[in-house]
């Protein structure tokens, strides 16, 4: 498991204040998600690609992530053009694709990829721990931050536990097949993981209570906004406002 793949680097974006990056990523995503104007989305895609170039990330890794996202989008292309009502422009056997359906699927494809690229450039370049701290400084509710931290901390451990259980099954000759024995064994595996996580959660709670925990976390690290962070914040806000304006103008 490599949660911090993109966080290693020394580009301008890696050094930027994580709070600024979180705010910009959120604004960018909202504007793009709500937009349906191609001029706006073209600008958004260009902005996302520029950010990615500035972040200087491994192209191969980025393409792999994009592949994962676009696998889902492929399913949209299988269904949307044929189920959306409108002018029929293509028929494959008994199925008819509509112009509106194709347009809609393209829109979703462009939006998702633009958002993912921007998130990779802005959010994935923050080490996961720092991201939690940044969210906390942005006044995200404590409970969500705790959930986030605990998930990060114990995901790794659960994954290792899963690997151990899988190995234990494998050394006794388990090979997944399409039969009841396989389903039953995998169900046991998942059940065991759930029970173990539950037990672990209980032990962690006890350990925390022993150290005087009473529902409050304290943060030790603090961030400082420097001049280039402010410049980036202002510049990007202008760009995002421009995108929103393009969208708004087409509605007039």
């Amino acid at each position: 498991m490599h949660l911090d793949n993109f966080a290693i680097g020394d580009s301008f974006l890696h050094r930027a204040d994580p709070r600024v990056k979180v705010v910009l990523a959120a604004l960018f995503s909202v504007v793009v998600a709500l937009a349906d104007d191609y001029a706006c989305l073209t600008v958004a895609s260009c902005v996302a690609i520029t950010l990615l170039v500035v972040a200087r990330l491994s192209l191969k890794q980025v393409l792999l992530r994009l592949l994962a996202v676009n696998t889902f989008i492929l399913f949209l292309w299988l269904f949307l053009p044929f189920t959306y009502g409108g002018e029929e422009i293509l028929s494959i056997g008994p199925f008819n694709a509509t112009r509106e359906g194709i347009a809609y699927a393209s829109l979703i494809t462009i939006k998702s990829n633009a958002i993912i690229l921007a998130l990779i450039a802005l959010i994935a370049t923050i080490p996961i721990i720092t991201l939690g701290h940044a969210l906390s400084h942005l006044r995200v509710p404590d409970k969500l931050i705790h959930l986030f931290f605990f998930t990060v901390r114990y995901l790794q451990l659960l994954h290792l536990e899963y690997d151990r259980l899988r190995d234990a099954m494998r050394i006794r000759g388990f090979r997944p097949r399409s039969n009841l024995h396989t389903y039953k064994s995998l169900a046991y595996l998942i059940g065991m993981l759930l029970i173990r996580s539950f037990d672990r959660a209980d032990r962690i709670r006890k350990a925390m209570v022993c150290r005087g925990f009473h529902g409050k976390f304290y943060l030790l690290s603090h961030f400082e906004l420097n001049r280039s962070d402010m410049a980036m914040l202002v510049f990007m806000m202008l760009v995002i406002s421009g995108m929103a304006a393009l969208q708004w103008l087409t509605r007039m």
Binding site: F149, Y154, Q156, L157, R203, K206, F213, L220
Partner: protein
């Protein structure tokens, strides 16, 4: 019997896990007294109730019968145990249960902050404790990326950071290499803390404890040192 030197006293304590009525209780009419300055070892087979006993002392579990007295006061409910937890540090068997903060420094500072220390005080304590344990420069390390031995030492640091009067160590040497066990022994020897160690490691107990108890059949019995370990060590 009022004695200010008694730190932990268990009188006729019994405990059974709910839903387990068919079996004998884990602890059965157990008596145990630990005085200030005692260095006590606890042995007992797997499942003999060592961890249960520790959780009862910390107020994580409550006895079905009997009395628990810590620092001269009877402890019956959650709020009685808050003071106990501030003064007794329990090192868990699995350090992964204990280390839950993202970074080492945050984890070590967690206890002191809970006890009402300021950020500056907590940071100073953290640095001091890490230095004492030879963990300088570990502050920014990510807890889940530490090795097994490092995790145990950091977990010990999180306990020591609360500046306890008594340490309870649950299998502290399990899974550690000889060097790390040596380090642990040195830390315990050079401290002036009262402590209680449960371990299967006879060598560790011989080097660190004056008295050894055996937990068997839900009760504790003084272990004959000469039988347990070949060397003779005085008992005070």
């Amino acid at each position: 019997m009022v004695n200010s030197d008694v730190v932990i006293r268990l009188e006729g304590v019994s405990f059974g896990y709910p839903g387990d009525q068919s079996r004998r209780p884990v602890l059965d009419d157990l008596h145990l007294q630990i005085n200030r300055g005692d260095r006590v070892g606890l042995i007992g087979s797997n499942g003999s109730g060592k961890t249960t006993l520790f959780h009862l002392i910390m107020g994580l579990l409550y006895p079905t019968q009997g009395e628990i007295e810590v620092f001269g006061e009877k402890r019956m409910q959650e709020k009685d145990f808050r003071e106990v937890r501030a003064k007794i540090g329990l090192l868990f068997q699995d350090s992964d249960d204990q280390l839950f903060c993202p970074t080492v420094a945050e984890d070590v500072a967690f206890g002191p902050l809970n006890l009402g220390k300021s950020q500056e005080e907590a940071t100073a304590i953290t640095q001091g404790v890490l230095k004492d344990l030879g963990l300088e420069g570990f502050g920014d390390r990510v807890t889940y990326k530490l090795s097994g031995g490092e995790k145990r030492l950091v977990a010990l640091a999180t306990i020591l950071a609360m500046q306890p009067e008594v340490l309870i160590l649950d299998e502290p040497s399990a899974g550690l290499d000889v060097e790390t066990v040596d380090l642990l022994v040195n830390i315990l020897e050079s401290s002036d803390l009262t402590y209680l160690i449960a371990s299967h490691n006879g060598d560790l107990l011989e080097r660190t404890s004056q008295i050894v108890y055996r937990l068997n059949g839900g009760k504790v019995i003084r272990e004959n040192r000469d039988l347990a370990f070949p060397s003779e060590i005085g008992y005070c």
